[in-house]
């Protein structure tokens, strides 16, 4: 074969390969512009407390070109049910998952298995003795700081004079890392101030367990560590219960804001749930775009709301996201 013929064959082969590659790129482009599908699994997903979170998910999904699906869940969700849901979503074509982990013995292992198949982002840190699941990225506020800030507001209101004051603490669960961290932050800040935690009640107040509150001893302050506890306590206070204790809490629903507006809640710590949702999808989108991207924890801010600051311009955006 002479040189000229050899060059001719080489040039034609190279051009042919380029045509082939370009054709493949064109065909793959037509298969859809979405990066992938992200399934979001949180407990009681239709509850108003998730409004800002879901709005953040929607906005980020639109910005990053991913398809986000909020999976409908009930207020009672066990670890087993959550696992079934995750499996079902993966089988239905989910490319990534955003999960509120349900505390359980095998939850960490289960998430570890799931993570090998699809990227997983948590909305809460998973409480685990061996700490394996903590390797999963988490988006959310610093729960310890939230608890501490709430205690700080209480101290500020009473100029740190809380001797002889009693405190009752409400939470939805006792075993979740979120509750533990908030509680720790709150209690450690109050340590040495003379305030005494008289009782601590945990329950699914959305599910008719609000009756527990009626039987609690009189305290000066009721501290609600999550939105459902806060709204339950707010309802109880609005109904004249809890001996007219002053309510401080953490929440992110319009109902919680309403109780602030009504003066039932003295101080409300609001984690930026919009950003929790937004940053979760953002990290997932980065991971879907770059297979070797290592997802990172995303810590969002929080805002302290009081009746007099509720309608300040800078806080109105917060109410806007909660109202979506």
């Amino acid at each position: 074969m002479n040189k000229s013929k050899k060059y001719f064959i080489i040039i034609e082969t190279v051009l042919g390969l380029m045509v082939l590659i370009l054709g493949i790129i064109m065909l793959s482009d037509r298969t859809g512009n979405k990066l992938g599908r992200v399934s979001v699994i949180v407990r009681d997903s239709d509850d108003a407390q998730w409004a800002a979170f879901k709005y953040g998910i929607r906005m980020a999904a639109a910005d990053r070109g991913v398809e986000a699906v909020i999976v409908g869940t009930e207020s009672v969700l066990t670890a087993e049910e959550e696992e079934q849901l995750l499996e079902s979503e993966i089988n239905n074509g989910a490319d990534a998952l955003i999960v509120q982990p349900i505390p359980g013995e095998d939850t960490a292992d289960m998430l570890k298995r799931i993570r090998k198949r699809v990227p997983v982002m948590l909305t809460e840190q998973l409480s685990s003795e061996n700490g394996e699941a903590s390797m999963l990225p988490v988006a959310g506020a610093d729960n310890y700081a939230l608890g501490a800030a709430l205690a700080g507001e209480l101290l500020e209101d009473y100029s740190s004079r809380l001797e002889g004051k009693t405190v009752g603490i409400l939470s939805r669960t006792t075993d979740s890392d979120m509750t533990v961290s908030r509680m720790t932050g709150f209690c450690e800040t109050l340590k040495g101030t003379g305030a005494e935690v008289k009782w601590q009640v945990a329950g699914n107040f959305d599910n008719g367990e609000g009756d527990y509150l009626e039987n609690q001893a009189r305290v000066d302050f009721v501290i609600a560590l999550d939105d459902s506890s806060l709204t339950a306590a707010g309802e109880e206070l609005a109904a004249g219960g809890l001996y007219g204790a002053l309510l401080y809490g953490i929440g992110h629903s319009t109902q919680a804001a309403y109780y602030v507006d009504k003066g039932i809640v003295e101080c409300l710590a609001v984690p930026d749930e919009f950003n929790t949702g937004y940053q979760s999808v953002n990290e997932i989108a980065d991971r879907l775009e770059q297979p070797f991207y290592r997802m990172k924890n995303q810590t969002v801010s929080y805002t302290m709301l009081r009746r007099e600051t509720l309608f300040l311009e800078e806080n109105q955006e917060l109410l806007f996201t909660m109202s979506q």
Binding site: L22, S253, Q255, Y258, F320, S323
Partner: protein, 602 residues
């Protein structure tokens, strides 16, 4: 480094005609294709960009009109409520009537309205639709819409979107509204006082309106801001307020209606601005430059694909063309190479006219070369043969035998002096004949040789003829081919004067004529006819009756071999008159170098 690059380039430089044609054609055609492709793409993208901007402007104008219509309808509601309900009635006596008519107005427009509220100058609620419980401890006089209305009583004021903070809604909902407030004159118990009429527009109406035009996913978007750049609507308003992204609304608020090119946060974009009348709000359309090419990504791929396919096709076509053009040349070249390699193929003659002509020329040239080669070989053979003949003539045994017999007779007859003379002449004859093996000798030696020969012959023929030599001394130092006079003299004796009784005369002359030398041998013998004379130099097959057998043809040939065809013999003869044979040779000085060159035939 530069030399290295040049060397590399030279290495790349195609050497074959086919490669040269193919590379040249390919480079030219692909360059033209690229230029055309790029020009077309640029023109297409420019027109597409203009089209995008124009369609954006049209869409914005339509949206602005819809928005203006909405705002005008809100103003009409405010006007209706004020001029037909509030101004004409006294709140102290007609409160219920006002309320019911406000209710009618609200119900007629409740799709777009959140509420219609009337406050007096102290911020007390006079009427509200829909009827709701006002929040406790609420001080509306501190709210922006109230302050603005009271600050500029003659105007209607549109606020930026905010949460309505008026009524206690136990459904835990907070409404985003845009407040249209104005100062109004209220009649209460017959006295007139200043109050504020608030029409809270449902923000979601404007939001929906603009959401519809923000449905594109090419990066293009629209937002609404007031005259100070504060955002009223933005598809990513929360991201902006959270600092996730930024927006250049402050700058856009300063723009007049039109299209602007700007760079924001490192991104180049076109901004189309449309002012909403009365409110001073700006509807801003943002077209990032990436949006212009968004729909064209596939178009780009398609153009590149098309160009690659065309390049493939062009390479094939160029190869066919280059092979077509170069094949006859290559075949010609191959046949010439084979010829050079020693084979004897037919020279290729084919292809276009020029190549055929070239083939013919090369073939003819080769034929001529071959014929010349043959001629040279023949000449060389002839030269060798003629030299052999000349050598033979030197030692003609018959001549030697006769001469030696004459010498014997002289010795026996005790004519010793004559014998000595004869021997000395014979010796000189042979010395010059040999001439150390040279072919070229001086004319002096040639004449000496002729004289010796004639002296011997004269003795042999008992002086029956006379010989005279008349040679110009100037020519004696010139060169000649040896032994060219002897055969002529021999012929002159044998065919000219041998039969004559003491009257035979042979005259040898030598002279210069221009650049030539003429040597002639003239006898007064029997001569010959013109036909015979012409045959002497052409017919080599003639049988020699006498002499050494070396014909004049041979002498003529030898002269021409060494000096060229323009030289040689000339014979002039008349029957019974005699014959003159003239030798013409060039006047070449007899030198060592010249002799050598002549002998080598150069």
């Amino acid at each position: 480094m530069r030399n290295k690059s040049l060397k590399y380039l030279k290495k790349l430089e195609p050497r074959g005609i086919q490669s040269t044609i193919m590379v040249t054609f390919s480079v030219i055609s692909i360059s033209i294709m690229l230029i055309i492709g790029i020009v077309l793409y640029v023109r297409f993208s420019n027109s597409s960009r203009q089209e995008t901007i124009q369609s954006t402007r049209r869409l914005m104008e339509q949206t602005s009109e819809t928005l203006e219509d909405y705002l005008v309808s809100m103003r009409r509601i405010s006007d209706t409520a004020y001029y037909y309900l509030i101004k004409e009635n006294d709140f102290s006596s007609q409160a219920e009537d006002i309320q019911s008519r406000l209710n009618l107005l609200y119900e007629a427009n409740n799709d777009n309205l959140q509420s219609i509220v009337v406050y007096n100058g102290y911020g007390s609620l006079l009427a509200a639709e829909p009827v709701a419980t006002q929040k406790e401890n609420l001080n509306v006089t501190e709210q922006d819409w109230y302050v603005q209305a009271m600050d500029e009583v003659e105007n209607m004021h549109f606020s930026t979107p905010h949460i309505q903070n008026l009524f206690d809604d136990n459904t835990y909902r907070y409404y985003w509204v845009i407040s249209l407030s104005r100062a109004i004159e209220i009649t209460n118990g017959g006295t007139s006082e200043l109050g504020v009429l608030l029409v809270d527009m449902d923000y979601s109406v404007i939001s929906r309106m603009l959401d519809q035009i923000n449905a594109t996913d090419n990066g293009q978007y629209y937002y609404l801001c007031d005259s100070s750049g504060e955002i009223i609507y933005h598809p990513r308003r929360i991201q902006i307020s959270d600092g996730i992204i930024g927006e250049n609304s402050q700058t856009a608020a300063g723009y007049k209606d039109g299209v602007y090119d700007e760079t924001f946060e490192g991104e180049r974009r076109n901004v189309v601005v449309n002012t909403i009348s009365y409110t001073g709000w700006k509807l801003v359309g943002v077209i990032p430059h990436s949006a212009f090419t968004y729909g064209m990504i596939n178009m780009r791929y398609f153009i590149v694909l098309l160009m690659l396919l065309m390049a493939m096709m062009l390479v094939v076509v160029n190869r066919i063309v280059s092979v077509g053009i170069s094949r006859p040349v290559l075949r010609l070249n191959d046949s010439v190479k084979e010829y050079e390699a020693g084979e004897k193929p037919e020279i290729y003659i084919g292809g276009p006219q020029e190549i055929r002509h070239l083939g013919h020329s090369i073939q003819k040239s080769y034929e001529q070369i071959e014929s010349l080669m043959k001629k040279i070989v023949l000449e060389q053979n002839e030269r060798r043969k003629s030299e052999l003949d000349a050598l033979q003539s030197q030692i003609n045994p018959h001549f030697l035998y006769n001469t030696l017999e004459s010498i014997t007779w002289m010795v026996e007859g005790e004519r010793n002096d004559e014998a000595v003379f004869m021997i000395s002449q014979l010796a000189r004859l042979f010395r010059i004949s040999l001439s150390k093996g040279r072919t070229i000798i001086s004319i002096r030696d040639e004449i000496q040789h002729a004289q010796s020969y004639m002296n011997i012959q004269k003795i042999r023929y008992k002086n029956t003829f006379s010989v005279s030599f008349d040679v110009d001394p100037d020519i004696c130092s010139c060169s000649t081919v040896k032994l060219i006079l002897q055969p002529i003299l021999e012929n002159a004796i044998n065919y000219g004067v041998s039969g004559m009784d003491d009257t035979g005369e042979i005259r040898v002359e030598g002279k210069r004529e221009g650049d030539d030398i003429l040597l002639s041998v003239t006898d007064n013998g029997i001569g010959m006819s013109e036909e015979e004379a012409s045959l002497v130099l052409t017919d080599n097959s003639r049988v020699h009756k006498h002499g050494s057998g070396v014909g004049l043809v041979n002498v003529n040939r030898r002269i021409q071999i060494y000096f060229g065809n323009e030289y040689g013999l000339n014979i002039q003869s008349e029957p019974d008159e005699g014959t003159t044979v003239t030798i013409r040779i060039p006047a070449v000085p007899y030198t060592e170098k010249g002799t050598k060159l002549l002998e080598e035939g150069k």
